[in-house]
Symmetry: C2
Subunit: 350 residues, 2 copies
Amino acid sequence: MELTERKKKILRAIVENYIQTAEPVGSKVLSAMPGMDCSSATIRNEMADLTQMGLLEQPHTSAGRIPSPAGYRLYVDELMQDYRLSVDETQSLNQAMELKLQEVDKVISQVSKMVSKMTNLPAMAMTAAANAPTVKRFDLIMAGEGSFILVIMTSGDVVKNRLIKLPLTCTEQDLKLLAAVLNASCTDLTPDSFTPELLERVSRSAGPAGALVPLVLDYATHVLSQQAKSEVYVSGQMKLLGQPEYRDIDKAQEVLSSLDGETLSNLPATMADIAGTQILVGPENIAKELKDTSVVMTRFDIGDGMQGLIGVVGPTRMDYAQVTARLSYFAENLGRMFAKPELPPSQGEE
Amino acid sequence: MELTERKKKILRAIVENYIQTAEPVGSKVLSAMPGMDCSSATIRNEMADLTQMGLLEQPHTSAGRIPSPAGYRLYVDELMQDYRLSVDETQSLNQAMELKLQEVDKVISQVSKMVSKMTNLPAMAMTAAANAPTVKRFDLIMAGEGSFILVIMTSGDVVKNRLIKLPLTCTEQDLKLLAAVLNASCTDLTPDSFTPELLERVSRSAGPAGALVPLVLDYATHVLSQQAKSEVYVSGQMKLLGQPEYRDIDKAQEVLSSLDGETLSNLPATMADIAGTQILVGPENIAKELKDTSVVMTRFDIGDGMQGLIGVVGPTRMDYAQVTARLSYFAENLGRMFAKPELPPSQGEE
DNA sequence: CTTTAGCACTCTTTGCTTCTGAGTGCTAAT
DNA sequence: ATTAGCACTCAGAAGCAAAGAGTGCTAAAG
């Protein structure tokens, strides 16, 4: 059967109406719509065709039609019209984006909160390093009271530090020597290269402070692995309850349970594949628990080979156009923000 | 009317049964309980008395009794028996507590997740500084590529850093001088003492690197204010939905909405007053939205004048004994953990 | 004087039936 | 090809009776 223009028009109308009302759409309301120049009977015939083509379904015989997943797919791919952000919206988005100078982690968690707020749906945000991070530079600062500060700068220009108590007495000179040795031998290495042999070699050549080497490399390993690990933040889970399809708590819980870290942590794997915004409708989804929901996500680049992902989860019947527009805007600006940071030049983090 | 031993016994039985079943308790089941050596009729009489005394209530005439808020209060204060953690429980708590060396912030957020998991209820965790933090020490490290790392150690021995691009050329000597000046004039001061005059005086005496002073103090202010601000983490909101009293989504949402930062941020104010574990039953609660719920919270000390608070939110009918025991155990160990950190001596954070 | 058995009464819950209305599919006329 | 008309279906609301749980009170028993 052919998908005529009129059929498309009807499908679009059904999808959009259903998105708004969450109620099955009947032939009568459709025929009453402006621009629909035919009777309800004609529309019924068309709807029967669309149902046969697998684009619509009927909850039960005496109800109107709702879009099937395939129907949504078609709508999203071909029928959906771009949603234009209003001035008000861009303004409040901009306002929300005024993130203070903060650690990447915090920015990400805040972003997930903001996205959730803007879309009124549960949102997730995460980052992942594209290539394994390494240490770019070690610094050891004497801090009095028998302790020193270990400062590590990673390949992503992220700086982390830690106050460590000295297990032995040690002069500033000793620390300087150790730092020099570390910078010579342990930079640009992934954690798995920190072999016991390396460790011993370094400690020997580092003089009195050599005993600190394990502590230092331990922390380095910790920092690097944290850096590599993408942390996932999920916010606004409760927003899901506002959606009529999740008035049933069990359903909501099922969906939300799959958002608890586990499932999402293997998302970054797919991340590289995503170009721009991706919309997963119902059964196409990541996890089987999400088969009745949709996920919309957008990638953005942080620079330094890092990528980020923001997305929302909602009923299949969500306003894709609007959500997509907002996510893209967000992602774009985040990318820009990370690319050329605020003027009093700063980069990396604490 | 007098509160006889038997009345107490009955009240306790009712509370505990109701905690388990979430159903009103009738005279018949009570009389059938082991240790109840009287008929259902007698119990009915006693229950009528307890109701009159305001310790019990009846959802409707033909239902059993449930404890009133006052009844809970009495139970919590006098009747509740300590819940002893089983070996299994302490073990899994210990296991959960094996927090990796991490920032205070992250520990706190993780703690809230753990508490929620252990109690199966929404949990919150937060910290607050008892006295205004100050900078204890500045360090400036040349980092090549025309940038330097600013390292700040605060009064709480927390170390924060930030990579800053140099807006001008500047030698390592210049930075050293600047650090010396800053350490001489700007330590032990709260951010509000960073007046324009101070700023100017310092920049003048700091030689070539004087132009960096605003950047440095800006960041210091940021760090200190972040330190002073207590961040609240709430986890496991969805857990509330597992409780039968919140099957009604609107109710759940109402309660959870009051957990979104705002309400909780003025909790720290009361924090000082809390000794050990505090149980707020229904109407005694912090926010009016919580009038049908209970909050249990425990304070712990982090050292350096910092305090933390962990707590859970749940139905008035929650297992106070168990929750209290778990919270206390948690708090105790957290306190210990912060007091004398892991052996390879470390303290403070990144 | 306290306890208990017995009983009438109340009120929620549950299951059932009926009714209503929205929406369909089909047929016949335009 | 479109449309009007009509019989048919089915979910949801409304109404109702029966069941069951639990109470309060009274009167007898310890």
